[in-house]
Each structure stands twice: as structure tokens, then as C-alpha cells.
Amino acid sequence: MTLKSYTGGLLVAMLIFAQGAYADKWSDQFPHIKNTGDIPGACSYEATSKKDYSGKTLTISTHAVPVMGEPTALHAEQFSKLTGATVDVVHSPAGDLYSKAMVPFQAGQAPYDIVFGFSNFIRDWMQYLAPVPDKYVNMPQMQDVTKAHQGVASWDGQMYQFPVDGDRHYLKYRKDVIDNPEYQKKYKADTGRTLKVPTTWKEYGEIAAYFNGWDWDNDGELEYGSAEVMKKDDLMYAAFFSRSASYSKNPRTPGGFYFDLETMEPLINNPGFVEALGDWVEATKYVPPGGINFGLGDEINSFGGGQTLFSFSWDDAFVAAMEDGSPIKNKVGAAPLPGAERVWNREDGSWDIGHNQAPYIVWGWAVGVAGKSTNQDMAFDYLCFFANGANHRADIAIGRFGVNPFKKSDFDPQIYIDHQGWDPLIAKSYAATIVGMEEFNTNRVFPLRVPGVFQFTSAVAVGTSKALAGQLSPQEALDEVAAEWNKILDRVGKDVVREAYAVGVKLEDNIN
């Protein structure tokens, strides 16, 4: 072997090794980022290690382990090792996060430097949060965040929540069933319809009902049509808005999805929402036994465990299904939420016929720094470190972490193929689904972000759960919700709610 060929071979081997392992001094110390190594940036491991917060203590209120609680604690430990800071992490159930922060906020105290919650808390929390400083807003890491999620984290152009997570609802389905030629033939023979990824909620219901209650994956267990979040007070209202968006978000009638912005009349009981609730009541027939008591965890376990054909909600169920060790890895597909064959036109008081689809950029995890915190610099550095390139890339690969794509760079399917072993077709459909919702669709619905948002969503949960339980018809249930919404408007003040709602409507109506 000549020296030239030896050197050439060595170089090729080094390149291959460097490409495959990404090892660097940081990934040796922090195995969490072993797939990528440190990724350069203002808050990279390298940059963060140059800060010295020895003797200082950062206190964080976050969710219980694992969803968001686990990455918070993990990055706290890493941050502590890198900077010498002491980081105390306090975990609470999801339902307590709001009051855990709000009670001291209202009392003028700051027991927590950083508070985790949901992005739709923003209107209630923003007056107690420190705005995200310009140096973070303008850095390349933040510029990579999609416009939609910058909007979700901001209030009227001012960013109050540091983006660490991106959320949207989309359809997840069993690709091995829907693409199976035998089942396609059987479905056609039995129903006269074509088996395909559903593009309307009616198709979703028909296919789910057909595949309900029999062993279609031959594992000796019964499978069911759909897993959905139907448990009262457990995020069910978000599932209802997902089902309602296509029936009620009419691109020809801007000016409000939840309320008519001009009159502040609740739209929640219009025929679009009623049709969606009617579909949802039907869905109780094709969910697994006990399905109307399924919370988010049950939905993730049910679909991720291969129990159902369909599911729709946050990314977690999809990522869990695609993790190593999942029985259905590379057997699932992602697609936009189903649409509707008609959409309610509230101006004409009639249905507009034609396919309509509206993505729901649902609220997700959000985090802010308390305005009264005396450690704001350290707190923002921690958040910036949390969401740095290497941590983010590693976090989105772990379903239980609850960290989902919100950066433009997340939409490259190659990262899921290279680092997570996803089938290329699935990775491409996943990336195309989320990029389509984030960047291209202009008929999006954003979460309700108004004062006292919990009162409004709680009323929706109570009303819709009565309909699912058969206590009221869909129309009666939503009339009850609308009446409750009117009472809340009277209490909080129509103008106060309108002013806040207008900010969300601007996002929905694509007004910059």
C-alpha cells in the first residue's frame, strides 16, 4: 500500500466516523447529545460553559416527569454542571401549573425564577413576566423558530414566552393498514368506498368504524378505530376544537373563530361546531372500551401501543410510536387533520359547500421568566440553553419529553432518517404535514388566549362531555356552553376580552 493510498483511506475513514458518530468533548460528558455533538450557537454547550453562575440559585416550576418535567430537570443538571449554578426544579401536575405561578404572581412574590405552563396562559401571565430580551429575540437560534410559534410566544409583537416547544394537532394513522392492498380490496368490497388517508371527518368516522373491534394486525388482540382525548377537564376541549376547525373556520369570513370579534357573540353553538360535536358523539362508538375516559396519556399509550387505527392530537403519540422499541415503529403515518365537505358561513347563515381544512396550532408548553425574579439573566440563559440546537435535536426524538418541532430546521426529514431511524417516506410525510400547517396553510386556528381563558375552556369541557355522555344533544350542550360564555363575558367584560381576542384573530386572519 502506498503512502498516498493509505493517507487517502485514513481520511475517508475519519470522515465516515465523524459523520456517523458526531462525537465531541461535550457529547462525551453529556450522552444526551451523542447523536449530534454540540451544535455551535449563542447558547451551545461551549458558549454556556463560559458563563459562571457559581453561588447563584435558579428555581424552576415545571410539569411532572416525564412530559416537559424530565427535559427541564435534565437540562437543569447540565446547566448546573456547565455554569456552577444551583438549579432547583419543582414538579407539579399540569392542572396546578397555572395556580402555582399565578398565586405568587398576584401576591407580588417570585418564588420561581422560571415558570412552565401552556402558551394560552399568556394573556393572564404576561403582566407578571419579563419580556424576552432583544439579544435572545434577535439571535439566529430564535430566527429559526417558525413565524407561527413566534406568534404563539408573543403578545402583540412582544415576546413573553421563550419558545421551547411547538405544538399542533394532526392526524396519525396506521400506515400498514391504510396502505395494505388486501384491506383496501376488502374495504372496497364491503363498503364500496376507497380505503385511503381520510381527508374529511366523515371519512375518518367511516374508516374508524369499519376497523373497530377486530384483530386487524393479527396480534391476537382486538383493535379499535380511534383513540382521542375525551376525558373531561383533561385537555378535551383542545380535541373538540381540532374536530371543529374545518367545519367552522371559514376563510371567507375572517374576524373570529370562537367569537364574532365585532359583537363578541360566541360562535361556539353555530351549526359548524354542532356538526363537529355530532361527529364526536358518533366517535364514542369506535373508540376502545373506556375511550370516553381517555386523557392524553391514555391516548398516547393506546395509539402508541398499537391499539387503534387513528389518533389525533399533539406530536407525542406519533413520536412515541416511532421510537426504537415501539411495536409499530415505521408503521404509522402523519397527515393534516381531516377537513369537512362544507363549512359554516356565519355571515350568510348557511353552509358553503366544498372541501375545507383548517389546521389547529394548538397551545403547547411555554415558559417565561418572572418579572420579579432577581436572576433574570441566568434564567434566560438557562432557557436559551434548554432550546439550543443540540438539546432540541435530542429532545424531539424522545416522545415522553413532550418537546416537539418548532424550528424551521426541524422540517428537514433527513434528520429523522439519520438520527432516529425513521422510514424515509414516513419522515417526509411527517415533515410535510407539519411544515404545511406552519408555513403554507393560511386558514389556521390558534388557541383562545383571553383573560380567564380557563373559564371558557372549562365550559367547553363540561358541555361537550355532557354530549359525549349522552346527557344532552350536541345542540343543547353547545347552547349551554354559549350561555356560559356570555356570562363569563359579562363578568370579565366584553371589551377586555375583545381587546385580547383581537390579537389572536390577527394571527388567524394572517394580518401582520
Binding site: G95, D124, K232, P288, G290, V462
Partner: protein
């Protein structure tokens, strides 16, 4: 001795009483007269507006109250019957008496929330072991998703958790009974049933009333079981007063209104439990 000095000795107890009882109740009453919520934090004064809303425009609270009454009375009655039976069983000289006495107390020693999570797993309709076993017989009851059965499930969990408390009080009562009346009954030729009806039960009446009232007070606060098992669903079919107050206060952050609900609930409970205890005394303790 200076007369005023005597009162100085009352101050420590008085301060404790004011700190842990009078002040919280006073603050709750004041809070109930305010509109404190997410958007308007502070003790403004809105008069009895919250109470007017409660009595004229909140059927959900009253429905939850009647549901609570049903659940409390049913669970406590079952706890009393089962607890008394178990106490009678281990009161006698049976084999492994000590073992059973400890065994029957175990549910009470466990943490209610954790046990309810375990019960929820048991009753999970598609993944839980209860329906797995029942499916052998071709049945799979919708434990948590049928509005009637969900109540039954809550009753099962509550009875399992708190019967040992009733058992403990009643066993203590049985062990403290005098032996003479039983000897006299035996001399008169009374059998076990007659002895129970004419001796044991009447002698146990004061203890029974105490145990029932204590359990009714506790049962009227059913919250964690509902929260974990059903979140008040399906629909509102298992929502109880305390769960509803929790939702209004800590979920919807309507502090002022939830204080009005709490105070009203407190008054109703004081009145109804006083009436119940008087009725029980009249019924069970014959002059």
C-alpha cells in the same frame, strides 16, 4: 389574685383559635364578597353578588351537592355495615384474630390518591385487569364511562379505603363494652341474633353515631377519588361539591366565587350534620 391575670392564661389558646379557625373563616367570608379572579386580583367589595349568582344561576353546584349527598350516605352506610360485621368477626375468638385485625386496617393506611390511581388502572376498561377477568364470563362493564356505573365505582373505592376506619372505631367500641349484659342475656337463653339486637347494637349506639358522623364529615369532602377516577365525568355525573369548588377556585381561578361556594357549603354541612346527628340519636338511643 388579680382578676385580669386569669384571662392572660387564655391568650395562647385564643391566639391559636384565631389563627387557625377564626381568621381563615373570616378571610373566606371577606373573599366571598369580592370578585377576585384571574383578571381582577384583589379584595374589592361586590356585596352579595356571588351569593345571588350561586342561588339563582348555578344549578351545577346544587346538582353536585345532591350527588354528594347520595354518595356520602351510600358509602357511609356500606362502610358501617361492613365495618361492623368485620369488627364483630374479630371481636370473637377466631383463629388468626390479630392477623385479621391488622389486615382489615391496611387500606386505611395507604395513600388515597395513589390507591385511586391503582383502582383506576384496575377498572380501565380496555387495559385493566378487572374487565380482563370478567371477559371470561362474557361481560365487560363500562366502569368509568357509564354515568351510573361510574358512581358505583367511586362508591367501591371509597368503601374499600374507609371501611377500616369504621372497623377500627367499632372494634374499639366492642372491646370496651361491659360483659355483664351479655352474661345476663346468656342466662336468659338469648341466642346470638337476639344478643346482637337487644344487647350489642343498643350498647354500641353512641359509638355508632360518633363513627357515622365522623365518616359523614369526611365523606362529604370526596374529592381525590373523583379527581383521579373520573374528573367528575362522564359529563357531570360524578361531580361532587368539593370537586366543583376546586374547579371554580383553582382551575378557573374564580377565588371570590369559590369562597362563596365554600362558605355556603360549610353552612349547609353544619346544619345538615346537626340534624342528622339528632335524628340518629333519636332513632338509635331509646330512653
Amino acid at each position: 389574685m388579680n382578676f385580669k391575670h386569669k384571662f392572660a392564661f387564655l391568650f395562647p389558646g385564643l391566639f391559636v383559635l384565631i389563627g387557625i379557625l377564626i381568621f381563615p373563616i373570616g378571610f373566606m367570608i371577606r373573599l366571598s364578597l369580592s370578585s377576585w379572579d384571574t383578571f381582577y386580583p384583589g379584595l374589592d367589595f361586590i356585596g352579595i353578588e356571588n351569593y345571588v349568582r350561586l342561588f339563582t344561576d348555578d344549578s351545577r353546584f346544587w346538582e353536585s351537592f345532591f350527588r354528594l349527598s347520595f354518595l356520602s350516605v351510600t358509602t357511609v352506610s356500606l362502610q358501617y355495615i361492613i365495618g361492623f360485621s368485620l369488627a364483630l368477626m374479630v371481636w370473637r375468638d377466631i383463629i388468626f384474630k390479630r392477623f385479621f385485625r391488622v389486615l382489615f386496617l391496611i387500606p386505611m393506611m395507604t395513600t388515597p390518591v395513589i390507591m385511586t390511581v391503582i383502582w383506576r388502572t384496575f377498572f380501565h376498561e380496555s387495559l385493566g385487569p378487572v374487565n380482563d377477568i370478567l371477559s371470561i364470563f362474557g361481560i365487560a362493564p363500562p366502569w368509568l364511562t357509564n354515568e351510573h356505573l361510574a358512581k358505583v365505582t367511586i362508591i367501591i373505592v371509597e368503601v374499600w379505603q374507609w371501611t377500616p376506619f369504621m372497623f377500627l372505631l367499632l372494634l374499639a367500641g366492642l372491646l370496651s363494652l361491659p360483659k355483664e349484659p351479655f352474661l345476663a342475656a346468656s342466662v336468659d337463653g338469648a341466642g346470638p341474633i337476639r344478643k346482637f339486637i337487644y344487647v350489642t347494637f343498643p350498647l354500641m349506639a353512641p359509638i355508632s353515631i360518633g363513627a357515622i358522623i365522623i365518616r359523614l364529615i369526611e365523606a362529604s369532602k370526596i374529592m381525590d377519588t373523583v379527581y383521579v377516577l373520573t374528573s367528575g365525568g362522564p359529563g357531570t355525573s360524578t361531580e361532587t361539591s368539593s370537586y366543583y369548588i376546586f374547579v371554580k377556585g383553582l382551575r378557573e381561578f374564580q377565588f371570590g366565587y369559590s369562597a362563596a361556594l365554600s362558605f355556603t357549603y360549610l353552612i349547609i354541612m353544619i346544619i345538615s350534620l346537626t340534624i342528622i346527628s339528632k335524628l340518629l340519636v333519636k332513632l338509635l338511643i331509646k330512653k
